[in-house]
């Protein structure tokens, strides 16, 4: 255990041990600018071994922008670098870039005064062991750099210096006719570029001058100043010369070609703007050349303008108007007097464009007004045209005057003439618009007053005379329809309120009405409306009549007595006698006849059918409540019924004691109601059930038993008295006598009576009538069934 702790402590010790061994020179290192100093361990060189890593702590400089220059013999035997940080001789900071221009022997590290100590780290020693032979130097950076470049800079200056003779001869008789502008420009540009690079390098060195160097007598510093002054002079000369050569080159190329000249106007302006300090002889020569060229510009433009015929503003791009305007600036920059032609021309262009824009704007506004009028809703409100009138007045006021004499010769130009004509036309048009819109404003107010009263016909009366106000009439396209609609509505309302004469007169008026803006167009619609309304009139009359009949029916459906009088009620006459017909007289008669026929149908079909249906339903629901009266009412209705609904007829027959109830299937009981055929409120009534037994049979002599199921109240006394008054087959009485038997109903046989055998006529009607008396006055349900008899003994 003890050993274990020991080893741990040893491991910790070694872990905290330094990695780099410090080489502490003797004498100590100095950061002063003294040239190269040798690094020594007293008098010896430091011995460094392959196995170890080393560092040397160099003090920081006293000022900014210093280099630590290390001259190392056998530099390739070690690997090293400089860092500004070494913590506990073990952890190194970032490496500082080596700016050496001689990497085989030198290391040049930029250092500054903000760091107290720099650490030169020997990271690796390649041989087993070697002596460290090192000279170090603290030197300002500008000096180190300038010292290294001074010779080179001087050489560049010398090589790129330009001869000044030609420059000095400009304006003094030198002719550039044979001057090789491109070569001159290229050469000069190259020289200038190289010099400017050197100049920039000098400025870079200057930027790191220590303050102490200014006005000093430091040789390097004085060399610097001299070289810089020479360089500045040469550069300034070459720039002027090169700019002038450029100007002359472009002027040369513009000769006889104003369009090319215009391409270089900005260059020319720039040139002249930068000629401060130029020799006068050069400026004078250049102005002269320029002035000559400028005289070609107005004629050039006149030619262009003469070809324009429209009133559109000049196309700036097409006519290069910005360049033309910049010529004024060129006059100014070149300190040359502006040409009157140029002034007249630019003035015209300005006037034209301004008026043109105004005309176009006015036209545009007018168009917008027209468009806005088109976009106006139908039936415009009051004041809408008033606002437009005001806008038109404003337009009139804003309309430009025509081009005048101030535009000189340009008045004769096509575009100028066109513009002046356009202005005149527009003026006239505005006046006309103004008047019409003003009139429209008044008319709108009038018709709107009528519209409020929905007097569309009167509106149409006013508008019909204003055909010249097409734009206004367009706003009343719907008026014809509205007039028709309003009339139709009035007719419809009259129909709705059943004011027949009003509806009919309205219909007649609409039929004859021609008071429309577009009578041809509206005719088909109007005819259609008339037809529909006419139809509605008929239908309404029909419906009202039907409604009255229905109401009548509803009210009278439960009428149980005096049914026949219902059918003579005036409710079955048409609600109104229509005299109008959009068609022929024959058609009128035809329609009225159709209505009458329809009424007849109501009377003879629907009313009795409805009454029968209602009464039958009520009859079936509660036959014991006034059942006989209901049945009789149904029968009475049935007599008036001329329809073909078998169901209705069957119901009538079911309730009519005199009507036969068909029995067509054997061995099926058919329920029928016995209805009294007498009317005694007290005492016995005679009941009748009439059946028609018509059963399909293959038998040659069909014969049946007829079974009659009776309610107890009818048959309960059958044992003591005959329950029926008479039973007949085809009006021949059937009696319980002879070969014919009638079985008496009793409780044991559930009050079923049997007639047997009843010979039926084959494929003919066989009426079995059952008459009986009973002290009641109500429908009595019984069931009747027929089937082939059995052979009986008795």
């Amino acid at each position: 255990m003890k050993y274990k702790a020991f080893f741990i402590l040893i491991a910790i010790f070694f872990t905290n041990c330094a990695v780099y061994k410090q080489l502490a020179p003797e004498p100590e290192l100095s950061s002063l600018e003294k040239g190269y100093l040798e690094l020594k361990d007293e008098d010896e060189h430091f011995e460094i071994e392959k196995e170890d890593k080393y560092f040397v702590a160099f003090p920081g400089p006293k000022e900014k922008h210093f280099y630590l220059v290390l001259n190392i013999k056998q530099k390739d035997s070690i690997s090293s670098f400089l860092t500004s940080s070494l913590i506990k001789k073990k952890t190194v900071g970032p490496q500082i870039n080596d700016e050496t221009h001689a990497p085989d022997s030198l290391s040049v590290y930029p250092i500054t005064d903000s760091v107290q100590t720099y650490y030169w780290i020997i990271n690796k020693v390649h041989p087993e062991e070697t002596d460290l032979k090192l000279n170090y130097r603290y030197v300002p950076q500008w000096r180190f750099k300038f010292e290294n470049k001074h010779t080179e800079f001087k050489s560049i200056l010398k090589q790129n210096t330009v001869d000044r003779n030609i420059y000095n001869q400009i304006g003094k008789g030198y002719s550039f006719e044979k001057f090789n502008f491109p070569t001159a420009i290229d050469t000069m540009t190259d020289h200038l570029g190289k010099q400017e690079k050197v100049y920039q390098a000098l400025l870079d060195i200057e930027s790191i001058f220590p303050s102490s160097i200014l006005n000093s007598k430091d040789v390097a510093y004085l060399d610097y100043l001299l070289l810089k002054k020479k360089l500045e002079d040469e550069i300034a000369f070459q720039k002027k010369y090169l700019a002038t050569v450029h100007f002359l080159d472009k002027i040369q190329k513009s000769k006889g070609n104003p369009g090319v000249f215009l391409n270089h106007v900005e260059h020319f302006i720039s040139y002249f703007s930068g000629t401060k300090g130029y020799p006068e002889h050069i400026l004078k020569e250049c102005r002269s050349i320029l002035e000559a060229q400028l005289t070609t510009i107005p004629p050039y433009y006149d030619g262009l303008l003469a070809g324009k015929n429209d009133i559109e503003p000049f196309d700036a791009e097409l006519y290069r108007l910005p360049v033309l305007k910049r010529i004024a600036q060129l006059y100014q920059a070149s300190e040359t007097k502006q040409s009157p032609d140029y002034d007249l021309q630019t003035s015209f262009l300005t006037d034209f464009d301004k008026k043109s824009l105004a005309v176009l704007s006015t036209q545009n506004t007018l168009n917008k007004i027209e468009s806005s009028i088109k976009a106006l809703p139908q039936m415009p409100k009051d004041g809408i045209f008033g606002k437009i009138v005001r806008e038109l007045a404003e337009l009139q006021a804003k309309l430009p005057n025509p081009l005048d004499a101030t535009n000189g010769k340009y008045l004769e130009f096509s575009c100028a003439k066109a513009l002046n004509k356009a202005i005149a036309d527009l003026k006239k048009s505005l006046t006309e618009h103004y008047q019409k819109k003003n009139e429209a404003d008044n008319i709108v107010r009038q018709v709107n007053a009528l519209q409020a009263e929905k007097d569309y016909r009167a509106m149409l009366g006013i508008l019909k005379d204003k055909k010249h106000l097409g734009f206004l009439l367009n706003k009343y396209k719907d008026l014809d329809l509205k007039s028709v609609s309003e009339q139709a509505k009035n007719i419809g309302e009259a129909l709705q309120k059943y004011v027949w004469y009003k509806a009919e007169s309205g219909l007649s008026q609409l039929h004859r009405d021609t008071n429309f803006l577009n009578p041809i167009k509206i005719k088909s619609l109007k005819d259609s409306v008339v037809y529909d309304l006419e139809d509605s009139l008929y239908i309404k009359v029909d419906n009202l009549t039907r409604y009255r009949v229905n109401q009548f029916c509803e009210n009278k459906a439960d009428t149980l007595v005096d049914i026949d009088s219902l059918y003579s009620d005036s409710v079955f006459l048409p609600a109104y006698d229509i005299k109008f017909s959009s068609g022929t007289k024959g058609q009128l008669i035809q329609r009225k006849e159709a209505l009458v026929a329809h009424l007849a149908k109501l009377k003879e079909n629907e009313f009795p059918a409805k009454a029968i249906t209602l009464l039958y339903k009520e009859f079936m629901r509660a036959p014991h409540k006034k059942g006989v009266l209901k049945a009789r009412a149904i029968v009475s209705h049935g007599k008036h019924y001329k329809g073909s609904d078998k169901k209705i007829k069957r119901r009538t027959w079911e309730c009519d004691p005199w009507a036969t109830k068909w029995i067509t299937e054997p061995a099926k009981y058919r329920r029928v109601y016995a209805i009294p055929i007498t009317t005694k409120k007290h005492g016995p009534n005679t009941y009748l059930v009439r059946t028609n037994i018509r059963i399909k049979s293959d038998a040659k002599f069909p014969v049946y038993d007829v079974n009659i199921k009776l309610p107890e109240e009818i048959a309960k006394n059958a044992t003591s008295e005959q329950w029926y008054e008479k039973i007949t087959l085809n009006k021949t009485p059937l009696k319980n006598e002879g070969r014919f038997t009638i079985t008496a109903p009793n409780a044991e046989n559930n009050y079923e009576c049997q007639l047997s055998p009843v010979r039926m006529k084959k494929d003919e009607s066989n009426y079995v009538d059952i008459y009986f008396k009973h002290n009641s006055f109500k429908p009595i349900p019984i069931s009747v069934m027929a089937q082939k008899p059995i052979i009986k003994k008795h």
């Binding site: 002599f701 070969r739 008795h794």
Partner: protein, 578 residues
């Protein structure tokens, strides 16, 4: 004084005479229904077979019960519970009947008669059981179409059987499925009379029933029927009094020896019974007609046709009823129509009153037409026998036929003994057909297959089973002497063999079918065939007129339809004495 004594003596004599009349001679018929019968034709009762004595068939209703009994009330016929009670019929046509096993046979009572005094005492009860029902059905099935009950039952219960009885004494019949069976139909089918199981299949007569009256015995040839102790009949006794013939019936009623006549001589009203205070009469549909049957053995077809044309039934009937004379025999039909004589004339074996004629299923040959007298024998001899009922009518008919004004001697009628009739030694025979039904069940056996014998009604039907297992009529049914017409199929070489054979087939087909359509068709065939064969002259029907003493309440006596006149005897009531 002497005068006083004389007067007193006279009064005393009158009082004595009154007392003698009152106590000795005054006839008291109360509590009795007394009806006459021909003394030598005692009714022998067989509830399943027609009898030659009409009264015998009527007594069926008196002595026997069916499961249901037919009765009547003012509204028509009714079916009353007899030995059964209808429970229900299910959807598969199973009819449930509650038997009444508590009902005892009349043999449960001992009857002793001291002269006409009847004493009934109970002995060991013999109760009705399903066995009796089964036996009865077997008997009817065995009798076959000769019994009207056979057709009645076979149309509903083809196997003549039933299920049960169960513990509640309920039996179930499976009725045919092709119709909607109403309660009336069911009860009609089950209205056949039930005899006890020990009665024997072929008894001479059946006297042990469960009906309202039981046969008590006879005293001085009077047949006594006594109300059974359990009967609900209002009148205790039914007496059948013997008389030589029917000629005195009305007089006997007037003399209060009887109080009811079920049929008057000639079926006519009786002048001596006009007093409505004392008598009332009720007419019903005819059940008897007279016909002259031609002997096919003696008369050939031509002769028969000539004879038929010669015999004018209307002229005979006019004479019969003395129509248009001071002595006219007035009649009234069941509808109450008076003297409608012509309605009774018959032109077919189907009388005019029958369904078949009424509904024109058959078209009788009415027009006499011309005939060749020369084909006839010099004298056509027609026999009849007056000793077995209808003496008056048959005698009158014989007299009429013998009237030279009528047939100028070409036809001679003879009243002969029954033996002569049996021998068949006649050209034709006048036969009363009694007990005929005008409904579907008209009996053709009674005409064509009855042995020529007035004393009994023996039907000579013989059947056999053919190769298909079907029961068919045997040609031996028509053999020598087996029927009034002397139709004989024993000799196949007979020139009319084919028609006779056809006739037999038709008759059997008519009688044995339970299909109405078949019956209609057979009726047509037979009628047409008979028109060709000219088997007889059908004369006329006899009105059915019954007289009753007003001792009875008229309303309580209901003689309805074609049913037995005694069907409602239980309901007959006497008028309360004033």
């Amino acid at each position: 004084m002497k005068k006083i004594l004389i007067i007193f003596g006279i009064i005393l004599a009158l009082v004595a005479a009154f007392l003698i009349w009152f106590f000795i001679f005054k006839k008291d018929l109360s509590g009795k229904v007394i009806i006459p019968y021909i003394s030598h034709q005692k009714p022998r009762i067989d509830p399943h077979l027609p009898s030659s004595v009409p009264l015998a068939d009527k007594l069926d209703e008196v002595m026997f019960d069916g499961l249901f009994n037919v009765s009547a009330n003012p509204s028509g016929i009714t079916y009353e519970n007899g030995l059964g009670e209808f429970i229900d019929i299910d959807k598969k046509n199973y009819v449930t009947i509650q038997l009444k096993p508590g009902k005892s046979w009349q043999s449960s009572y001992a009857v002793s008669m001291q002269e006409d005094m009847i004493t009934i005492t109970e002995k060991k009860k013999v109760l009705f059981t399903a066995r009796d029902l089964k036996f009865t059905l077997q008997r009817i099935q065995k009798i076959g179409s000769v019994s009207p009950d056979y057709v009645l039952i076979s149309q509903a219960i083809p196997d003549f059987s039933f299920y049960g009885p169960d513990e509640n004494d309920q039996v179930r019949f499976h009725f045919r499925g092709e119709r909607l069976w109403t309660e009336a139909d069911i009860k009609e089918v089950l209205s056949f009379k039930i005899i006890p199981a020990n009665a024997g299949m072929t008894a001479r007569e059946y006297t042990n029933g469960t009906g309202p009256y039981m046969h008590a015995g006879e005293f001085e040839n009077v047949m006594y029927f006594q109300k059974t102790p359990t009967s609900e009949a209002h009148i205790s006794n039914l007496l059948l009094k013997p008389f030589i013939d029917n000629s005195t019936y009305t007089t006997e009623l007037k003399n209060k020896n009887i109080n009811g006549i079920l049929s008057t001589p000639f079926g006519s009203e009786s002048p001596i019974l006009n007093d409505k205070e004392k008598y009332f009469h009720k007419s019903s549909i005819s059940t008897c007609f007279f016909a002259i049957f031609f002997n096919c053995n003696r008369l050939d077809l031509n002769q028969r046709q000539a004879l038929r044309m010669m015999i004018n039934n209307k002229r005979i009937m006019n004479r019969f009823f003395k129509i248009g004379t001071m002595q006219q025999r007035n009649i009234a039909n069941y509808k109450g129509e008076p003297n409608n004589f012509e309605d009774y004339l018959n032109y077919s074996m189907f009388p005019t009153s029958t369904y078949y004629v009424q509904e024109q299923v058959v078209n009788p040959l009415k027009a006499p037409g011309d005939y060749d007298k020369s084909v006839l024998p010099d004298t056509v001899r027609i026999y009849t026998c007056v000793n077995y009922g209808h003496r008056e009518e048959l005698s009158e008919l014989a007299n009429i036929i013998n009237d030279p004004n009528l047939f100028k001697g070409r036809i001679k009628a003879y009243s002969v003994s029954n033996k002569m009739i049996k021998r068949g030694n006649y050209d034709a025979v006048i036969v009363p057909i009694s007990g005929y039904r005008s409904n579907f069940l008209f009996d053709l056996y009674d005409i064509f297959l009855r042995e020529p014998n007035f004393a009994v009604k023996k039907i000579t039907l013989q059947t056999s089973t053919n190769s298909n297992g079907e029961q068919v009529v045997d040609p031996r049914s028509f053999s020598k002497g087996s029927n009034f017409f002397q139709l004989d199929l024993s000799e196949k070489g007979h020139q009319e063999y084919e028609n006779i054979s056809k006739l037999l087939d038709y008759v059997y087909g008519f009688m044995s079918t339970s299909e109405i359509g078949d019956k209609q068709q057979y009726a047509q065939f037979i009628d047409e065939l008979e028109q060709d064969m000219a088997l007889g002259s059908w004369l006329f029907s006899l009105p059915s007129m019954a007289y009753f003493s007003t001792q009875f309440e008229e309303k309580s006596i209901d003689l309805y339809g074609i049913a037995s006149q005694l069907s409602t005897i239980e309901n007959w009531k006497e008028k309360p004495k004033k």
